[in-house]
Amino acid sequence: MVRLEKRPSPSAFWQWATPVLAVILTMIAGGIMFAILGKNPVEAIRTIFWDPLFNEQFAAYSRPQLLVKAGPLILIAVGLSLGFRAGIWNIGAEGQYIMGAICGAAVGLALYPLETRWVFPLMVAAGIFGGWLWAMIPAILKTRFNTNEILVSLLLVYVAQNILASMSIGLLRNPEGGGFPGSRNMSQIPAMANPELIPGTGLHWGVIMAFVVVIAAYILLQRHILGYHIKLAGQAPRAARFAGVSPNRLVVLCMGLSGALAGMAGLFEVTGPSGQISIDFNVGYGFTAIIVAFLGRLNPIGILLAGLLMALTYIGGELASFMLGLPSAAIQAFQGMLLFFLLAVDLLTNFRIRFGTRKEAL
């Protein structure tokens, strides 16, 4: 018989080994799924994990994509992880990401054709503000009326998507675009563009900010009293109140921070890789970042690695569906498996598995 035995304290080894184990299990289960779909599992796994970086034919295109895709994921996930650690569940980063992009782009487009170097920083500030504001709605509803921030933030994603649709065919539509939906292409306008800083790397301002935020969050959690309060509130809410932490203040702070970072990510995306406000410029980074946050153990350094890994499965998945004709649903299932296995093997951090028939209670 298999039993679970609680460890006296969380295992440091498994805390870091579980993500690796989860990736391996995902490869095995995903391989089986690909085999059932009639594809060569080894080839499929190799196409997803290896080819985007090292295949001579594709790497030149797909390697820069790694940072382009990982940047917003990391930026959003770090913000979410702070809230998740405090037990504040912002599920609506996608909406904050969209609203950040809209607000930032709106400021830039309103100033068009002004050509000064203050336009872009102003747009970044507006993007941060937009995301923050959108996150304040669930935060204030929670603190004032005790609503559930999971539901409110999630539902606001759909509101944001509708605003985005309306903006791209209405207010922000490119007046010189011949009536097509979508704004001006901001990546083509020097004052607004978020360019690739070193050609061939995919490195843009958003990626740099992602690295900065990772380091800042690491310091916050390790050395700052606010980071301590965030951890305390998540682990032992009553102890946090005893320590003088105001739960409401923490909700406003964590929601605001994650919203601001999501908004910033949206602005960098819309002025860089995507270039314009369009109905579908967002590709679900806000939702995927939730997976990234947990895959990275809600730890900034872990999130950095998890963001890169997730970006890799995105790029590799596209490559696999293109090269091997894998349905995109199979790729999504594959990514879902990753989160599933991660949460499942997470158990090993706090429990150890015992084989045997001894039955007892301490």
């Binding site: 050395r223 009553r238 005893f242 320590a243 209670a361």
Partner: protein, 516 residues
Amino acid sequence: MTGTPTTTAPRPELLAVQGVTKAYPGVVANSDVSFSIAEGEVHALLGENGAGKSTLVKMIYGLVKPDSGQMRFRGQPYQPSEPKAARASGVAMVFQHFSLFEALSVAENVALGMENPPPMRELSGRIKSVSEAYGLPLDPGRMVGDLSAGERQRVEIIRCLLQNPKLLIMDEPTSVLTPQEVDILFTTLRKLASEGTAILYISHKLEEIRALCDEATILRRGKVVATCTPRDRSAREMAELMVGATLTPPARAALPKGDTALEVTGLSVNSPIPFGMSLKDVNFRVARGEVLGIAGVAGNGQDELLLALSGELRTEPGAVKINGKPMGATGPNARRAAGLVAAPEERLGHAAAPDMTLVENALLSGVVRKSLVKNGFIDWAATGRFAAEIVKDFDVRTPGTHVAARALSGGNLQKFVVGRELSQTPSVIVINQPTWGVDAAAAASIRQAILDRAAEGAAVVVISQDLDELLEIADMFAALNTGRLTKPRPVEGLTIDEIGLMMGGAHGMEVAHVGH
């Protein structure tokens, strides 16, 4: 009070435990334990926390399997594989912590614990008849959430009695009762014993054991160190057998009283806890160097009073004055800055975060008075020194300061939590249940530390369910009863009956009608 009928003829043996041993990784909980209980005998199992009492009764109740040794029940080999088997043989147990649903009625709670509950109407009738027969009146239709602790215990006892047990195990049953309620319980237990039901009574309260029990088995570090007839021994003799050392009661110097350090005026506040008790017009003042003891049965507003004093629950500014300053509307850290420290009852989850290290937990409440944060950044080196200082000064047994709080035993964590508060040179100390679950030696050192702080001029409020503890360390005595605090009175000259009445008497319960 009537004594148990003493019979000269030896009563037939009911349960015999022979050479039972049980080891857990790193600790031997029971080592070669033997004792026996006769039918109708009230047998005490006496020992400090961690002496192995719980493991032993868990083996008898089928929750734990012994590594070696045998048990016999009514002459037959007895090896219950699970509590269900133990109950089928006629063994029932009332646990220290009740397993009742507050939002369900008495009858529904009883039905939940039965294998094949009869229809609700029939069950209610049986509950009524059994409860009246044993002098434990209980309305089967009442919501458990509305019952006092003593009444909740009755639900547990009646749940057991409906099985007609041959052996009833009671784990620390009086820790939640007023002295009057204890009397009622003892009358019931004596009646049960006179009808032939054996009772295995676990406690560390020696006077109770002397009043109730026929025989006592004393455990120390998992071994039987003595058996005795409690009536023939003094409480002090038994305590020394239990601890294995001579006990010295805490010493204190008579002090001149100082100025008022803590003043509570007209404190009324709604409980934030579901089924909690709101505080109603609580008034008291504590001077520097004075210890106010607040007694009361659990659930009469103790938790709420601690929250209102620590600052976790805000009130009118004037309701709580610290060193003359109105602080009722301020939070915990402002009150710490003003000199008040507090230690809540619940160690894990309230006073300490279970998964955080001792260093991180030292920061939890030490941040203000120990200046552990500069410009928002934590001084981990200073925090580590503070944690090490607590561990050293309060003899916290731990492999180091970097272990998680939940890895510590209850007593050691309590020493750490109390030590953390007392090490902050406070002028006002509020402690809820300072020695709950702590062994006698550690409890004595905690009490001594509290008295030392009082001698240094701190005003102390100790909220406790342990009357002996309060009478030992307090200068003034008050009791919480349904959210109201009685007027504090000097401890000197108080009788146990007066104390019982201050605690609410028998909470409207009737004394058992025992017919002989």
